[in-house]
């Protein structure tokens, strides 16, 4: 049985216009990139549309992937640019829409009803708090805590300097602090 190609081999095959390899890459990273885009944009149809755009760029630009980079970092870099572009487009077309975002889907019910209520409150408060951040700050928070990225990788993904990444995180934490504090206050 043929083993799954590693990321490097996969992207080389995509660069050689191998559609089978493209499908493997789509299966391997589609879910994660969709999740990232959804958390940034909070609209399923927009996130799916942007995911298609990301995958198109991957197909067209796979030959420009730099050896030594992580494939996921490169993919998130493309997704980041596309998400920012989509966010600004949405904000231009209907500014109020960027605030009227989709509710998070309900997680599995907790065994303890009180714990379930607290969890929902925390989730809602956090959702509001994250929406209050700038897209750039939200990106740093998501990539750090959800994608477990180092600040160097976040700098590479966003095209920002390392110090800028740290500054964005600092301001994001400061903005999130009172909102989360109120929830538990």
């Amino acid at each position: 049985m043929e083993s799954e190609p590693d990321d490097r081999e996969l992207i080389h095959r995509v660069a050689a216009k191998d559609r089978q390899a493209f499908e493997t890459l789509y299966h391997r990273y589609g879910r994660r990139i969709f999740g990232y885009l959804w958390r940034q944009l909070r609209r399923r149809e927009v996130a799916e549309e942007v995911l298609d755009d990301v995958m198109l760029v991957v197909w067209q630009s796979a030959g420009r992937f730099k050896e030594g980079s992580r494939l996921s970092t490169w993919l998130f870099g493309i997704a980041h640019k596309k998400a920012l572009h989509a966010f600004r487009r949405l904000a231009r077309s209907s500014p109020e829409d960027t605030r009227a975002l989709e509710e998070s889907p309900e997680p599995a019910a907790a065994d303890d009803p009180i714990q379930g209520v607290e969890r929902r409150e925390l989730r809602e408060a956090l959702g509001r708090a994250l929406e209050g951040l700038s897209p750039e700050q939200r990106t740093v928070v998501e990539l750090t805590f959800y994608e477990h990225r180092s600040y160097q990788e976040i700098a590479e993904i966003t095209g920002a300097r390392v110090n800028t990444v740290k500054t964005r995180m600092f301001h994001a934490r400061r903005r999130l602090a009172p909102l989360l504090g109120r929830l538990h206050g």
Partner: protein, 234 residues
């Protein structure tokens, strides 16, 4: 949980550690930075408290649910369709880009000559295409068709005489139909006859045509502009 007042004041004691705490939490710090943060956290209560808040924030963010999604065959099909459409458009763009790049590399004088030549070729192609698509009498002419530059008028007759007809027989036939030759012979041996205008030529035309067609010395007789009918079909 997260006293905001402390955030600005406490971090000032160890700002270099505070700014790295999120990456200490997600375990991506390495080397001297990792050692420095670990040492400070173990000895500083304020840094320990902030580390706890960072961990709670990380846990809360990771606990955020997101919609279900899977790379279904329909999505893959959509992705392939988008690629197919983009590639079709990009082939045209790249061809035009290549022409434009090549055009830009040529010296200005040659560029203008090429532009004029291209315009002429385009005009020629358009003209040929237009002619091919437009039914034109000039592409298919019968013996009775009006010949450009000839003196034929409406009501005139086109006649092809047999090769063995004598000059006297021709004269007698012309006198019988009361007509005279106004043009010909053409390269195809066609003569144009006009009925004498003293009487109503229009009324006599059918009779004259009939007389000509009955003559054994006439191979073809037709009105100018009418479809040709060989004399054998009479």
């Amino acid at each position: 949980m997260w006293p905001s007042d402390d955030f600005s004041s406490d971090h000032l004691c160890h700002p270099d550690v505070w700014e790295l705490l999120p990456w200490y939490v997600n375990a991506t710090l390495e080397g001297p930075e990792l050692e420095r943060v670990a040492a400070r956290v173990s000895s500083c209560p304020s840094c320990q408290a902030e580390l706890g808040r960072c961990r709670e924030l990380a846990a809360a963010i990771r606990a955020q649910p997101e919609p279900a999604w899977a790379a279904s065959p329909e999505r893959l099909l959509r992705a392939h369709a988008q690629i197919h459409a983009a590639e079709g458009a990009s082939r045209w763009r790249s061809l035009l880009g290549e022409i434009s790049r090549w055009f830009g590399l040529t010296p200005p004088r040659i560029r203008w000559a090429l532009a004029v030549e291209t315009a002429l070729v385009v005009l020629l192609v358009v003209a040929v295409t237009w002619q091919a698509m437009t039914p034109s009498r000039s592409l298919y002419r019968t013996l009775s068709s009006e010949t450009p530059g000839s003196s034929a008028q409406a009501g005139d007759l086109r006649v092809v005489f047999s090769a063995n007809m004598t000059e006297q027989e021709l004269r007698e036939l012309l006198m019988r139909v009361d007509a005279h030759i106004v043009d010909g012979p053409s390269p195809m041996g066609v003569y144009t006859l006009r009925l004498t205008s003293a009487t109503s030529a229009e009324d006599r035309t059918p009779i004259a045509l009939e007389t000509l067609r009955m003559s054994p010395h006439v191979a073809l007789a037709e009105r100018v502009g009418a479809a040709a009918v060989p004399s054998s079909s009479r």
